[in-house]
Structures are given as C-alpha cells and as structure tokens.
Amino acid sequence: MQVLTSGKVGPAGFTPLTGAGTAANAPKDGDRMLTDLSMYTFPPSENITLEEFERLALARLSVLKEMEAYKLRHPNKTEKELMDKLKQLKLKHMRGLAGVSAFNHEEEVRNDLISHYVLRLAYCRTAELRKWFLAQECDIFRLKFGTYNPAEHEAFLAAHAPQYRPVAEKELLEVMDEIVKVMKSNLETKETLVRVLQDKRFYKVSWTRVPELVAQRKVLLRGGWAYVSRDALAPLVVAEFRAGVSKGLSDMARRWRQMFPVEEEQRLQPLVASLTSRSLIADYSGVTTKYGDVSAANLHHLAIRHFPLCMSHLMGTLHSERHLRHGGRQQLGLFLKAIGLPMEEALLFWRSEFAPRTPSDQFDKQYAYNIRHNYGREGKRTDYTAHNCTTIVGFSGGVGDNHGCPYRRLDETSLRAALSRLHCDDRKVEEAVSKARDGHYQLACAAAFEGIHRVPELDVGISAPLQYYAESRRICTERDSTSAGTTAATGGAVEGTDVGDQPGSAAGAGGAGEQPGGRGVKRPASGLPGSLR
C-alpha cells in the first residue's frame, strides 16, 4: 500500500505484507462485496493520501474505543442493541471519509479493510497493545457474525472460509441419526437438539481444524471430516479469525523494521506510533475563548463546579497544605493554562496560595521560573499542552504526591468522601467507585460527571481533564440560558453546595439560574473559608 502526501506522488510506502496466498489465490473484489464481514487475510493494495491514512485509522479507533466503553457501562445489552450501537458508531465516525458523500457498500468495505490494517500497524508493537486490539476486533467480529442471517453466513464462508463446506442434503440424511446421538452423548439440551434439527444446516470441516472438539468427542467424525452445526460454527469461525489476526499482528511486529523503508522513518513511522496515544476527542483549545473568564479570583469556584476530580483534588490539597509537589504543580499548572488562565493570573494564584508558607522572594526563586516556563516564556519556549487522561493515569507518585488519577490513587473511602463533597449523586458515587475498582478510571470519571451534573449518560468517555471542564461548562451554560429569568432567593456566600453557576461574564444572559441571585465578582481573599474541601 502506498501512502502519498496529498497531491504529490510520493516515494513508495511500506512493503505490503505477504498474505497466506499469492496473487493467484487472492479473492477477487467481487467476492468480497457480498458481505462486509471479513477475515482480513489480505492487506489492501492501493495508494491513498497521508490524511486519509490517518483519518481512517482514527475513525476506526474511535469506533473501537467507544464500543468498548459502551459495553463496559452496559453489560446487559442484547446482541441486537449492541449491533445497533455499532452501526451508529460506524455511521458517526467512518462515513464518507474518502470524500465521497454517498455512503455505499463498496466504500464501507474498503474503509474497513484499510482502517483495520493501519490499526494493526499501530497496535502490533507491544503485547499489551496487541491484546487490546485483538480483543476489540474479535468482539466486533463475533457480534457481526452472530447477527447475520444464514444466507449471509453461507456467502461469507464461501468467500472467506472455504474450509467449512456445507453438507449436502443427501449426505445429511445419512449422518443425521449419528449426529443426534453425538449431541445426546454430550448432554445437549432438548432445545438445542430441536433447534439444530430444524435448522438442518451443517458444515463439514477437516478434523485437524477442530482438535478441541475432537478431543472431547463433541463432533461426528467420518473419514477425517468433522460435522458441525451452524450453531457450533460461530465459535470456530471466531477462533479462526482471532488466530489469523493474532498471527498477522505478531508477524508484523517481527518484521517491523522491514515495514518502513528509510524514507518513511520521519513520515509514516511517527504517525503510526502516535496513533495509540492520540486523544480521540475534538481539540478543546477553543475553550479558552469560549469561556474566557478564568482568573485567579474565580478559580476556586470553577474548581468546585467544573474541574474533574484530579484537578479539584489538587486544588484542595494546594489550598490546605499551601504547597504542592512538582508533579502536582505540573499537572495542575498545565491544566490551568489550558482552560485559559493567563500567565499573570497564574503567577498571582500560585503566589497567593503558597504565600503563608513561602515568602515572596523564595517563591520567585523556586517556583516562578517554572510557571513562566510552562507558559512558554522561558528557555526553549515550548508551548506545553495539558496532559490527557491516559498520561495522567500513568503517573506514578510516592507518599505526599497528589498528582495522577485519583480514581486510581485514592482508596475507596477517600474517593467516596471526595465525590460526595462535590455533591455527586450517591448512586453515581457507587458506580464510579466500582468502575475505579475494576480499573476503568476514565469511565469512573464519566460516572462522577453524570452524578455531579445530573445528566444522563455521557456519550463519550472522558479522555482528558480539559474535556471534562469544557463539557461541564457547556452544560452549565446551556442550563443557564434555558432557565434564564428564574430568580431564586439570595443565598449566602459561596457554598460549594448546590448546583451553581459561576459568576462572571460567561454566565451570559443574566439568568440567576437555580442559584441564589447574582453574586458579584468576589475577589477571594487568601484563605477562603471552608468552601473548598
């Protein structure tokens, strides 16, 4: 497959993988058209642009990740519902990527194949990546195969798995009695028996392909052929799919150096390598302009309302200890920059927070430079971006460190306490805690978000703190604008309590929301009483 930069005829791309067969054996395009289910035995062979290369890969990755998140949060969905979700996701992400507006079947198949192979490249390098990719692809294959009707099954098998031969009627009559005996001897339920007898579709396959069934005498053998019912076929086909993809992945990893000729080291290779850690959500940089009211003054309000737990935890620790270690300063500092805190405000904020324990000149000496460096005003002037969830979850820390992902770091009691302080709905607290226990930290964060904001399910998982913040602000802005005009009695001071909208220009349409009436912009003195816990 050749990858071109747009418009230009570029140098040859990476060498295509040799599949199991030669050109003589590769299925013609016409065969594949019958179904969009594929074993991915043969890699695509065409030229595409670099953009499309990347876009297809990210699209498929989105589908895989969102499907995974969906299944994790809804463990009891039926096959049909999952299939619907899959179709919806595919429509959302992989539609019309080649620039063609009409969404036709041929294109779907082509995109499917290309995106699969590009992701293979990205996910073949380590065992963990391979395991994840294989698990997702197998789940999707199993889902698709399970929901196809018999005619589609036949077409698929004929095209992609010819080792499974349908048993002709005449032959079936001869062996049917024995097949029934085999099933009875294996304690198959009556329902299964009835269903299989009605279905009457059997396949025979060489016994060498189903050794585990042979070892347990679960099949009828005749002359080396094993007879399997259509029911029994699915796990076999899925197993073959898994074996094929797994082998492809390990072959690719072994021949990694041959995949990329020297010219591609700068072009394709970094792109492929970055695919696995890429944030899949839209760029949230617009948040600074949209909600440009962030200043040192209202940070605490914002923190309670809109920060994800990782950041609000840091804010809390900072406020109570009057200090944060390096890891925490970096994590929080970059986040504050990302949400639009200007550098001067940042310096102000950190200095005032550190003030009781750190005299001003010491602050200048030890910490100010770092803050300026983060904003790109010192040294090599790099504009550092805030970390995403994957990175944050991966942070390691010792005692006394507060950075990293609290769903991973904190024990359950502390987690529960922190979440209830943020007024998260109890049920959601439990959900978040259990997700955290199972290691799905980002889903825990999403559950917490839903609990705090009282929204029904978030479609997308949380993949960066910035995303949490942006979504949170968006929701509150929408709520504000819809409930504009409702005035409630004035309440007390800023309690970190109820649904609050922060003061400031972003609140926009003067609506007081559910909140005790318009508060002025308060400049919090250092040491705001108890509102931040």
Binding site: N186, T208, P211, V214, G224
Partner: protein, 477 residues
C-alpha cells in the same frame, strides 16, 4: 527360564534340527546374536524405503536431505543411550547398525536440520514431521487380567491386545480417514501403531493429543472401579457405540472365559461393583448359586454367569421402565442401561499410553528390533488377522538364526536354491527370505509399504504441480 541346552554357539551346526522356538532366551545370549542378526536378518532396505518416504529417488521434487534430518537413537549394550544419530541414507544407516549392533533402535522425528548439527540452530531446531504413534501395553491391564501380570503375556490375555488393535484400527481408518497404518508387536507385552499418512506426519502436538483423547475412555481408577469418561447422556457417541459392539463380541467369545472374571474371587467381586443396585447383585449371586446354573456343562461357567447377569439387568430395566410408563425415572434407568457397557469397557477397552502419542519428539522402538530380554523380534501384525497371532510363537533371534543355519545346510526349508547367491540382477543376498522373517516382511509390505509407495509418488507429483503453479519452474513450450 534359561534352557541350558540352548546355550550353543550360533554358527555351530545344529544338524538340521530346528529346535523348539519361543522360549525366552537369556539376555546375554541375545546380545551375542545381534551382530549376526543385523548382518543377515534385519530388513535394512525395507526400513530405509519406508523412512525415506519417496525422497530417495531421482525425482526433481525429492528432498535429498530428508532422511538425514531424521533422529535415530541407539541403545548400546549396557544401557548406553546414544541420541540424535542421523544418517545420509539407508546405506549409511545400515552400516552404522551393523557396526554398532545396538540392543535397541528408536525412531524419532524428522527435524528442521540434521540432528547432529542441532547446536548450530538453537531455538530453530524443531521437529517438523513425525508419524502418529500409539503404544498399548498389557501392564496397564493388570487390574483386569488374571492370567498374570507385569511382563506376562499369553494366549489368554492376548485377546485384549487383539481387540484394542481392531478398535483403534477401525477408528483411525473410518473416523479419521488414515490409510497407512502399521501395527507392530512390541516384543514383550504390547503393540505399537505407526500412522504414516502424510497428513498424520504433519500433525501438531495438540492434534495428536486430540486423536489420543478421541480414543481415551479409561481415565484411571477411582474407588476400586475404573472411571469411564461417559457423560451419561441418553446415548453414547457413535464411535464408542461401534467400539462397544466389537468389544462385546470379543468379551463373550474370548476375554471373559479366558480371564475367568466371573469365577469366585476378587476380580468377580470387583466386576460386580459396577452394578448400580445392591439388590440386583444379590439376585444375581443367588441365581449363580442355583442348581440350574451350577449344573450346566454345555458352556464355560463364566459365560453362563454372564448370561445370568445380563438377563437380570435387562429384566430389572424392563421392570423399571414399565413402572413409570415407558421412560422410567432417568436416575434409575440410566445407570442400569449403562452398567453392562461400562463393565465391558472397563475390562477390555483399549488403554493407550497417552504420553507416547501426544508429543512429536517422543522416541519409539523401531519395528524388527529384538527385545533384549525375550529375544523376540518386533514383527508387524496384520490387523485383519490379529486374533490368530500367538505371542508365544513369535520368531526369536535364536530361532531365526537356527532357521538360517538349517537353510544353509540345505535341509528343512523348501526350495532354497536362490538363498545366498546374489543373482545377476544385482540384488544383495537376502538370507532372511528363507526364514520366518520373510512372513514378517511380507506383512510389512502388504500393510504399509506397498500403498505407501504409491502415496509417496502422488505426493511428489503434487509438489511438482504446486511448484509449477507458483511459477518456480519455467516450462517453455
């Protein structure tokens, strides 16, 4: 049981008298005979033809290094194992055997490289091909035979081996579709099976284990009873069904009376434990003690008793079924239905040595070896005539050498005119053709080699076809 009279030097004239064959000969004697055995009796060329699998010819697709990648293991006198022996071709193998006179020759797999170079290849030195093999040993049946134990074998327990051969052979051919199957007497108390189909040789360890498990019903002992791998459904697997049919015939015709399992004694008590109901057992015992049974002389007592047992079980079954209108409570009827097949299977179904079959790199004794303790030759068996095989009448190295001597003297055997002279066609002298070895080799040819040669040819033709398809051969027209 050394018969001192037999301790005679081999090349002495025995005056044309061919002494009684078959008695076990002392070990030292056997080892002294090996040089002559390998010089005159061992069918080197047949073995080479077999193991070359067609690669010894001049065909373009023949792999001339194939033979060289096969491992042989020699056990020299004094239990010295020499592994990873490899030879360029059959001639080299023959020379080595004749030079070193191993007490035992084992055949291993064909590797990715010459076994003698294995250290150069490290992890990439792996087995690539190996026949599918089985080993059935009478010692594994010690709990169900009364005529002896350990290394004992006789006409009374041989039927156990015979029925095992029949069942496994039928299964390999009908269920798995294998064609080139060689059964060999293992020299003392069991049989080996070599499945030589090309597909069989390529099987992975997992697939070999699958085949072994397909035939495995006996899963060890529990509470004094054999555990049979029945799931206990309403039916048995058709393959097991067929096996039980074969077993039932053998059970009634030979095994039961020969082993006298129902005569009073511990074996009988053990057998009765398979019956699910104590009342049933008591009824049967009562009937056995009855005059009508005791007075029967027309049939072996074991068979009479078995008849009674079967009848009692069946009548109990009928009673139970009619009680609950036809089907009967499955909890009661099930065990009743199963107990008779269970008894037969527990006592007679083949008991494979699973470890031998599972791994590609397992070494197995070659056919035509001589057993160092008994002197018996590991002769091939014809599975269709396995009932007639007499383990006490197997040619021994001593008896064969005596036959040779007799033939040389011009006495005894028939028209031995063409014995020791190489004929004009260049065929080397094959003295063994004058002895019982000829029969053994004939079985080897009939059961394995003849058909194998045809398959080998087909394989080579197929390789050519594939090569052409890949375009590696340029055929210019």
């Amino acid at each position: 049981m050394a018969d001192v009279n037999k301790r005679q030097k081999i090349d002495q004239d025995s005056g044309g008298e061919v002494g009684p064959l078959g008695s076990a000969e002392p070990e030292i004697y056997v080892q002294e005979a090996m040089p002559s055995y390998y010089a005159k009796l061992f069918p080197h060329q047949h073995m080479a033809k077999w193991l070359a699998y067609g690669n010894d010819g001049k065909h373009a697709q023949a792999d001339s290094h194939f033979f060289n990648r096969r491992e042989f293991c020699f056990t020299l006198d004094g239990d010295i194992f020499v592994r990873y022996q490899a030879f360029k071709d059959g001639t080299a193998l023959q020379e080595a055997i004749q030079r070193r006179c191993p007490a035992k020759i084992d055949i291993g797999p064909v590797y990715t490289a010459n076994p003698q170079d294995r250290h150069k290849f490290g992890a990439s030195f792996q087995p690539t091909e190996r026949e599918l093999v089985f080993d059935i040993d009478l010692t594994d049946y010690d709990d169900v035979r009364t005529c002896g134990s350990g290394g004992h074998i006789c006409g009374k327990c041989w039927p156990l081996m015979a029925v095992a051969v029949k069942i496994i052979d039928a299964g390999l051919r009908n269920d798995f579709g294998f064609k080139h199957i060689l059964w060999v007497y293992s020299g003392r108390r069991g049989v080996h099976c070599w499945v030589c189909d090309p597909s069989a040789r390529q099987l992975t360890d997992e697939q070999r284990a699958a085949v072994a498990n397909w035939f495995a019903l006996y899963k060890g002992h529990e509470e004094g009873k054999a555990r049979i791998a029945f799931l206990g459904g309403g039916a048995m697997h058709p393959a097991v069904d067929r096996a039980v049919e074969v077993l039932h015939t053998a059970w009634v015709e030979t095994i039961l009376p020969a082993q006298r399992l129902l005569e009073d004694g511990p074996k009988c008590e053990a057998l009765l434990r398979y019956l699910p109901e104590q009342t049933l057992v008591e009824n049967i015992k009562k009937k056995w003690a009855s005059r009508s049974v005791i007075s029967r002389t027309d049939q072996d007592i074991n068979l009479v008793r078995w008849g009674v047992l079967e009848a009692e079980v069946n009548s109990r079954l009928t009673e139970e079924r009619s009680r609950s209108k036809g089907a009967g409570s499955y909890k009661v009827v099930g065990p009743l239905e199963r107990c008779i097949p269970e008894i037969i299977i527990a006592h007679a179904y083949p008991r494979l040595d699973m470890e031998v079959s599972k791994k590609m790199n397992h070494l197995l004794k070659a056919p035509f070896c001589v057993h160092p303790k008994t002197g018996k030759v590991c002769v091939p068996l014809d599975p269709t005539r396995v009932d007639e095989f007499d383990p006490d009448d197997v040619p021994t190295v001593g008896s064969l050498l005596r036959e040779l001597a007799a033939a040389k003297n011009g006495g005894g055997k028939g028209d031995s005119s063409a014995v020791v002279e190489a004929d004009g066609g260049g065929r080397k002298a094959e003295p063994w053709r004058e002895t019982k070895m000829a029969n053994a080799v004939q079985i080897f040819e009939r059961c394995l080699l003849d058909d194998l040669v045809i398959t080998n040819r087909d394989e080579l033709t197929e390789r050519t076809r594939v090569a052409v398809a890949i375009g590696q051969l340029n055929l210019d027209f």
